[in-house]
Each structure stands twice: as C-alpha cells, then as structure tokens.
Symmetry: C2
Subunit: 342 residues, 2 copies
Amino acid sequence: MSQAEFTISDSKVICYFDTSFTQISRIVPPENLIVVTDENIDGFYGHLFLPFRKIVIAPGENNKNRAGADFIIDRLIEMEADRSTLVLGVGGGVVTDLTGYAASVYKRGIRLAFAPTSVLAMVDAAIGGKNGLNTGFLKNIIGTTYQPEFILFDYNFLTTLPAVEWESGFAEIIKHACIRDMQMFETLERLSLHDYRQDASLLASLVEENVKLKMQIVLEDAYDRDLRLLLNFGHTIGHAVENLHAIPHGHAISIGMVAACNLSEKSGYLHFEEAQRVVRLLERYHLPVDLETEPARVFEILKSDKKRDGGFMNFIMLQGIGNGMIVPVEISFLEENISAVL
Amino acid sequence: MSQAEFTISDSKVICYFDTSFTQISRIVPPENLIVVTDENIDGFYGHLFLPFRKIVIAPGENNKNRAGADFIIDRLIEMEADRSTLVLGVGGGVVTDLTGYAASVYKRGIRLAFAPTSVLAMVDAAIGGKNGLNTGFLKNIIGTTYQPEFILFDYNFLTTLPAVEWESGFAEIIKHACIRDMQMFETLERLSLHDYRQDASLLASLVEENVKLKMQIVLEDAYDRDLRLLLNFGHTIGHAVENLHAIPHGHAISIGMVAACNLSEKSGYLHFEEAQRVVRLLERYHLPVDLETEPARVFEILKSDKKRDGGFMNFIMLQGIGNGMIVPVEISFLEENISAVL
C-alpha cells in the first residue's frame, strides 16, 4: 500500500495504491457512502458492498448515455443524498463516467470517489476528472470535468477481468508510453501480458507509473491547455471506428494508433521503423492492428468529433516514440488520406 | 451604454449594460452564434434573430428540467456546434438556466452568453453562473456552475414583460436590499413599480446596482464559501411553497421572505418593526405577504431541499435590514415553527 496526492485546479485527489477495498470504511464513514456499480461487478463482489447503500446499473458501453446518468440521479434523489454523501463508483470506465457525471450535476456536485475494477479504468478512465456520455454515434459528446476525492486501487478486482478487457487496458498503457515515456515502451517490449497477469508487483508498479504519467499531463494542462490533447493519441480515428464496428474500446484505439502512426509517417514526423515498432508492441499485447472498414463512413463520423474547431481538427502525431505532438490538420487533408492510413 | 468586467474563478464575464441587442453582431461573428430562446420571446422579437441559427424552446418553469436541456443539446448536435460556437440564451430564467446547463455539458462546455429579457433574469438568473433543472417537486436539484462570457442588458425587452414578471423581478431586488444594502432598501421605499416601469434611467441604474451586488457576493464567495448562501434569503421556504402551489417564483419568494423575517424575529435577530417594514415594502411592489397553505407539506418538501446537510439546514435570517446572516437551523426546530411563521 502506497499513497500519492495530486492537486488539480484546487481539487485534491488522493490515490490509495495497492489497497484492499475492505479499507474503505476507514476512509469514509459507511453511512455517508453510496456505492455505484454494475451488475457484473455486483455479481462477483456484492459481498463487499453489504455495509453500504448501493445503486446497481446495467453494464456496457451502450448504457453510457443520458438515460444511464439519469437513472443514477433518480436513485440519489430517492435516497435523499446530500452534500455529506460520498458517491463511490466501483467498476470500469462506464461506471466511473456515469458516476462522475451524476455526482457532478446532482445538487451541482456532491462528493465523489472511484474504485476502478479494470486496467482501463485504473490507468485512464478514473484519472483526470473527465467524464463523458454518448448519444447515438457520438462518443463522450456530453460531459463534465469533476475530480474524485480519492481513487482506491485494489488489484484483486482484476482477477475476474475478462481477457479482452486486459487488452483494452494495455492499449491505453501503450498509448501513454508512445506519447510520453520511451522507457515504459521498452519495458513493455521486454515483458508480456502474461507477465503482468501473473505478477501482481509488476502490475502494481505499471499502474502507478501510468496514473502518475496521466496525472502529470492533467496537472501541466492547467498551464498549457493543449497538453492534455496528447491523450487523444489514437482516439480520434479510434472512436470513429469504435462507433462504426462496435468493437472493444481498446481494439478500436489500437487501430486508431496504427492509423495515427501511419499519418505521422506520411507527414514526415515518424520513421517507418518506429511505426513498425509500435505495431509490433500492439500485436505483442494481443491488440488488432488492421481492420476491414469503410474509410468514407469513418470520416463522416470524424467530422462531428468534439475535438473539431472550424475547418481544422487537432490530431495527435508521434515525433518519434515517446514524443507525442499536437498537429492541427485540415479536415480536407484527413478526408484525402483516410483510406491510405486506415 | 456602460460596461463592467468581473472575473469569477478564472472566468471573465463582461456586462454590457443598456446596450441594444442589435449590437450583438459587433460582439460575436454571426456565423458563430446560436440563439436559444422561448416561443414567447421569439414571437415578439423573432425579427432580431433572423441573422442567426436559432433553437426555440417551450416556455415556462415546467420545461426547466432534463428533457428541456436534452432538447437543446440534441439541437446543438444536429447543428454540429463546436467549441468556436457561442450559445446565446435570450429569455428569462428558464431560458438562461436551460441554456447554461446545456452549454456547460455539451462537449464538456462550449462558449456561452446571455441576453436576459426579464427583470428577474437581469438581476438574478443570468448572474453568477449557477444553473438548475427541476425534477418533480425538487427545484434546481440538478445543475452546474458555468459562467457566460458576457451578458447583454437591453431594457427594451422589458416593454413586453407581463406585470406579474415585473413583480417577480422586484422580489429578488428586495431580497438583495434586505441582505446587503440598506440604501437600496430606502430607495425602493421611496419609489414604486410604476416609477421604474416609466423611467428607463431609474431602472437601468437599479439593474446595474443589483448586478454588481450579486456579482460581488459571487466573487467574495471564492474566499468564503458560505457567503453566497445569503442569496437564498426567502428561497428555502419560498421554493417549497412554489412547488406546492404553482404560484409565480417571485410571489413564492415574497412569502418565503416574510416567513424568514418571522423566523428571524422569533430567534431574536430582527425587531418586529423591521419585519413589518419588509412586509410593507413587498406589498408596495404588489407582492403577496401571506398565503393559505399546508405547513406540514411545506416542511416535507423543505426536508429534501438541496441545501440540507445532515440534521441541519442553513437558513438565512436578517440581523436587521440590509444585514443577512447564515444560521444553521436544526430541522426539528423548523418543523416545530413552520406553522407559526408561514
């Protein structure tokens, strides 16, 4: 068990790394706590939630929408949650996003914390305070920025995590390595998914490194509004692909990172060998690197992406591995090249 | 035309006082603007909105809910609004609240401004960045805090404002005077609703004074979290009464202020003569000062009020006119006294 504290624009966020969920009653008085989780997590870990009030939502990305958030808000109203209440999202990214949004708008914001139960949520979704709801084809088109008071990392939750979810989590980890951390990239090249699933201490230190890397970007972003855009590496095309094909988030992001590497190469920022090295690392972690798709339809969805500003879109490219960079790309350039890079 | 600039926790808000709506194209490029208004305002002033894209919502407090906000968000999606888009809420408090909420969560926040068209919106709803949505009996139970870039005050909009809406606006003005400004209270005693409706310059300076008073409270609140609670004077009981009887907001607040004065007197903070002076001023501005109601049901609604924290509720009392003060009141004390003060 180790602990780290981050201050993000006036909000203090405490990370309890490698901490058993059963410690939660030492952090928050049980009567102030409402657990929000999904049916899957509740099925496996319901016994842990017995001391607390609980809201159980339907699982899956399909429920990460306004109806899903409204369901939580309506339960908070019924439970007469007030500003002394702490809402604890226990689950993957769908749970943390829905819980974060609901907590941020109910009574204009009540207390919030997370206990992420997937690799993806631990290294990404639960970190940074951004939440998002989907509508139709549009990912995260609605959302707020709202920090949890604390995040509790209990790696025991990962024992029931399906293989595909492990892969999804590593897609974000590889993303972090690509944009900011050559050393992490090399460590990932040396080890394998099997190693991390077998050795809890390897995993614990990887998660901590990734949390700190993302927190650092979020913190620096207070001074440099654009820095956080780096985290969109692989996500612009990835989200569009995810909408079109209903493939797992991490798979879509993997495809998106390959496309972004191709675009970086095409624009002269990345060597062919480096792009190949990224592709090989993705394959090493069982992530797909190509896909039968319809580039024209991918482009249509891209056009309505929330990161668009006028005729340009900020696109994240790599100027070498470990060095992400924001490049404003004309929408028309994307349209011309989408077939070639995808 | 005069201009004032306020900085509220990093957000700059410009007030264009006494400025014709037709100046709007000088402030924002027309192609970046989406006007959000209601059917009533659009009926009277639709010709002003011709150069702009427009979202027209159904009027009335009944629409200040999640469905109302979702309607605006869905139109923003259809119009492919992006972060260069400025959403301008033109209307009363319902329009400014719905527009503020929608703009704050669409793409995690796009540009926002207001042109308030009622006295209430000019001196209160459009000021301070708080918005709120109702669900069932609960007022403003959902909301965000999100500042507009600017607020444009065109008093010509008031020529079509119904009498009851003038009265509602003056309820908030009298509230401001009660909690912070004895001099404004005396001016209001000397003049009348008729005077303010006849003399645009009297009205203009009253609106400016009220905007500055509320902005000052919002600004100071950054250092003293409780200060802003003063603005709830008359609102705790007022909101409960409003829910129960579907009377106009200002009428309910007037009843609430009388109840709060009675409670202040009962608690020894306010003299009987001062309470009577507040009652007389409310009557002078055509506001109701008593009501046939069911105190037990009012209390039930109070209990679920969002300002409750555990067994206490922060209640705003007057320690003399012009001097509001926050008093944590036990819920049980309220329950015992609700019949006597209402």
